[in-house]
Symmetry: C2
Subunit: 342 residues, 2 copies
């Protein structure tokens, strides 16, 4: 009665297949790994036996044997921002193409303890490498030593870590957005920045400021948001009440959406009265009202490069200490125009 087929327990192993096919376990292994030095008849017999007993390779045993897991850990702060989730999607695709799997670890609450927790689970070595996609300063604050010898790729952070860093050209993007508004004739550009923990936010902010200064324009006080549309709306209400504001650059599309709403609410027209630019080019941006001028980021490229760098390092054991920049591109839609009164 014990071996009824519905019984819980381990599945069939190579030994079972071997018995069924009348060969040794090693031959089964060779077939399972696609080695060529197996007779065609034998191979067929083994494959048949595999099918009959429902064999599935045990990846734990395989990993134990090889010392490799064919698995990549992804530590990500949250999936709620558009960029993170798009990047993860791209990583997932690229990783699958390489024949690896992804172990996903989210760090939901922004506390040091949580980040440390994610890393400690990583410590249970079950991954061949790690991609880190967290707000950098959050990473800085946590006193975490990455497991020594574990390949790591950091996305969108400063280069403090001695690991390959994939990075979008934050500065160029922010500069092109700011310049676009100035070139349209606006006297200056207001900025709604992302949270200070974010290195990306910091660089967009710095670049916006530098661009204004280089053009000899006054630099309005920075408004600090948290990436959410709600925070964009709040700051937007203040901006909408100030008739001198004619151009706003939000550090992401979601905050730009909030700004648009605030402007609509008080009847300021976009782009006639106020121009708005976002950052990210999320899929919905083209369907905002009005369609949003924004800075396109290629999250696909970011994900692909991150995976390529990591897989390379895993294969060779040599960190590729390059800093890879992924370009951005300004997409002009209908939310920007020259200021009306001049």
């Amino acid at each position: 009665m014990r071996q009824s087929s519905g019984q819980r327990g381990r599945g069939p192993s190579m030994a079972d297949v071997a018995r069924e096919a009348g060969v040794s376990g090693q031959t089964v292994s060779r077939v399972a790994n696609g080695r060529t030095n197996v007779d065609a008849d034998t191979r067929e017999r083994v494959l048949d036996a595999m099918r009959r007993v429902g064999y599935r390779p045990n990846s734990a045993a395989r990993a134990l044997r090889n010392g490799r897991f064919r698995t990549i850990g992804v530590i990500i702060s949250s999936l709620s921002t558009f960029g993170n989730s798009r990047t993860l999607d791209a990583i997932a695709g690229a990783v699958a193409d390489e024949g690896f799997s992804i172990v996903l670890m989210t760090v939901p609450r922004h506390t040091q303890g949580e980040v440390a927790g994610a890393f400690s689970r990583l410590n249970e070595q079950a991954v061949d490498g790690v991609i880190i996609l967290i707000e950098q300063h959050q990473l800085d604050q946590s006193e975490i030593e990455l497991p020594a010898g574990l390949p790591v790729v950091v996305i969108d952070s400063n280069a403090r870590y001695p690991s390959p860093v994939i990075d979008t050209a934050q500065a160029e993007g922010a500069a092109s957005a700011t310049r676009h508004l100035l070139e349209l004739g606006h006297a200056t550009v207001w900025h709604i920045a992302g949270p200070p923990q974010s290195y990306a936010a910091e660089r967009r902010l710095k670049s916006w400021q530098a661009t204004l200064e280089a053009a000899g324009r006054p630099v309005p006080p920075v408004l600090i948001g948290d990436w959410s549309a709600d925070s964009g709306y709040e700051h937007g209400q203040r901006l909408a009440a100030d008739p001198s504001v004619t151009a706003v650059f939000a550090a992401n599309d979601q905050m730009a959406l909030g700004v648009l709403r605030a402007l609509h609410e008080v009847g300021r027209r976009v782009p006639d009265d106020v121009s708005v630019v976002g950052f990210d080019d999320m899929a919905e941006a083209a369907n905002f009202w009005p369609p949003l001028t924004t800075v396109h980021q290629s999250f696909d490229d970011v994900g692909r490069h991150a995976v390529a760098a990591l897989v390379g390092e895993i294969a060779t054991g040599q960190p590729e200490s390059t800093l890879i920049h992924v370009p951005t591109e300004l997409v002009v839609r209908s939310s920007t125009a020259p200021p009306l009164s001049r």
Copy 2:
């Protein structure tokens, strides 16, 4: 020269710790697993040795030994829809709380082969259970046998699969949206549905239709979108051109956004001329213009329930064959109002 510390290779094992601490490997194992039957002094000595040699448990060996991986596979069609990515986020949080890890498998292109590919990697048994989050019909079409005996939870699909199914109350949500518009005084409600492969889309559609019929209202022809804002925009253009259209129910918020844009473009006012309702209550919906009336789904609950059901089944070996319904709630904002002319 061979054992320089930077060398690639395996980390220290229990044997190394045992040697360092002057105890047996078994004692190290006991300490590592928090067993109580270890002398306090010994425990301290072992922990110290672990720290010194930089010991990290090898999860492959552990999994091989125990026959359990403490890992859950998540098969997801894509992260680009808001709902999927929110649900995944919730799953990730719940799974971490249970002390499990997530192996993520995306099925990017909507082809049968891709789905089969994701499953075949699953076949390499490395997970204790699976959560499936794919458009149901896509799943139906693929000739896939789930590995027998592997616990599975299916989210948002029909009950064809003999596995626990977590489900939002699609029908109730769609009905409440439709009823809301009728109660405001609209003669009928147009519907932009999700893609036919989606079971969720199908049920929202059926429920919309049933609600209209129950109220004795004419049922306009269905418009079929693909969840994207662009598809909503396309259909929206047609609707905007028809002055008899006063109420639109889109099967998700993104398509609703496209409809809003189309209406704005031709100068039809929302909600004065046309009322619009969405579905999902994505974070941005409150910042659409006008703020969108929509059906709130609790993706957190969906994720949590899915994980709870799966972990339960893994622990007990007994499938919990219940169908769990997660309620929805209509959130009325500013995109709906009584029709102007009456």
